[in-house]
Symmetry: none
Subunit: 232 residues, 2 copies
DNA sequence: TTCCCAACTTCACAGAGCGTTCACATTCGG
DNA sequence: CCGAATGTGAACGCTCTGTGAAGTTGGGAA
């Protein structure tokens, strides 16, 4: 139907995208605007909103993922979101599965990028991103930053909420304190691992005695949220 | 095909899939069944339905696309659907964008297939396939640090888990106590060899009388996990 | 600006869990 | 039947985690 997207403005990151990417987008007839940050993306957003985003993780992976996260946490989450990564970065994808819709392993054929973009756009943004994370009676509302358990709201602080969200998004999986610090607190964080312990303790307290065991301690390893699907 | 949860059976086309694909699926712990046609896919469908489909278009593109179309036209459309195509076939995708959810350009890294499957399954609400080590009814979940035997969880301590994991990753191979100490406990470890004995004993106890013989004693040498193919 | 309070981090200590070792019993090979 | 290798139970001691509290930071109000 569409010979070329007309009213579809894509956000591209970083501000000086790889020349191959720029050429590919141009040749395919896409309209796009490169931005340096999520704030800039919000500032330069067209009236109809972004039609999607393409993020190259080559130069600055940290910044790129932060950018993805920011676009997804917005009021109107930008969709679809295509990331370009190197093969070595593929391991990063697993824990960030909620931050993108599709990915390309660079270097890749320009046609592949174009095909994936077309596919994503044709599906109208593709997959629906859940705006809540839930486990049993626990519900995290990603839009309002509120948590409830059995319907009654929990009064969580920011870090408590982020930690619980991260754990609840990966139920059953064990994380070391170091992993939690880097994924929840941030990469450049240089702090003691006991910080995690204390936050876990407060979370357990707020979850209540009945649900404190939502967060399990795995001795000598770290923490796990929820039970493995096998221990049913 | 490895053991695992029973509700994640993938349909694979064609009936004799590329060996690389088969190996990738097995190593990732997926359960799958190769089928020769859409009719056969319907006939062999598990009670809970297919968790998804992987279609290799290498040999017979027409048949492969017909297969995809049939799965999509069914009462319960099979989702998600991942197709493997060569670069030359990329042009086919545009006209068939409604017949698949994601694609891989072959030849590609096995990790990419696995990553895309994970992503698709996670989106579809299906369970993400964990990394597992399994032997008979014993399953070690490397993500959750949990072990089960015949579906019932084993309550292993950290060292017990590590020892069992190492042994189970090398079934049939005999290890001296010294080797086990250096590989499981660490190279710089300087302790008595009887430590291994005690841990083996506890492992056998927790495996239960029925499966205690998973760990065999090789007198004057060490221990072996699983049976030698020469044993009577 | 200055103060204040909430949130976050760090610290210290106690308790529990777990790994290691030892002593003794048992089995195996010759 | 003997010696060596292994199985077994118990006790010791260390490491890790839970926990209360002190210390630090940052943002908002007066």
């Amino acid at each position: 139907m569409s010979t070329g997207p007309t009213h579809d403005m894509l956000a591209v990151y970083p501000e000086s995208p790889p020349i191959d990417l720029a050429r590919t987008l141009d040749l395919a007839g896409h309209r796009w605007k490169a931005v340096a940050s999520a704030a800039e993306a919000a500032g330069h957003e067209p009236a109809q909103g972004w039609a999607g985003a393409v993020v190259a993780c080559d130069g600055d992976p940290e910044g790129a993922w932060a950018f993805c996260g920011a676009l997804r946490r917005r009021e109107n989450a930008v969709q679809p979101l295509l990331v370009l990564i190197s093969g070595a970065q593929m391991a990063d994808l697993e824990l960030r599965h909620d931050l993108f819709d599709d990915f390309c392993i660079t270097p890749c054929h320009p046609v592949e990028i174009e095909t994936r973009l077309r596919h994503l756009l044709a599906r109208g943004g593709g997959n629906v991103r859940p705006d809540v994370v839930s486990y049993n009676s626990l519900v995290l509302n990603l839009e309002t930053y509120q948590a409830t358990i059995g319907g009654t709201p929990l009064d969580l602080t920011y870090m408590e909420y982020e930690l619980l969200k991260f754990l609840a998004q990966n139920p059953g999986k064990v994380f070391t304190r170091e992993t939690l610090l880097s994924r929840v607190w941030g990469y450049e964080y240089y702090g003691g691992a006991r910080t995690v312990d204390v936050h876990v303790r407060r979370l357990r307290a707020k979850l209540g005695e009945e649900h404190a065991n939502f967060i399990e301690t795995v001795r000598s390893v770290g923490y796990r949220f929820g039970q493995s699907r096998w221990s049913a």
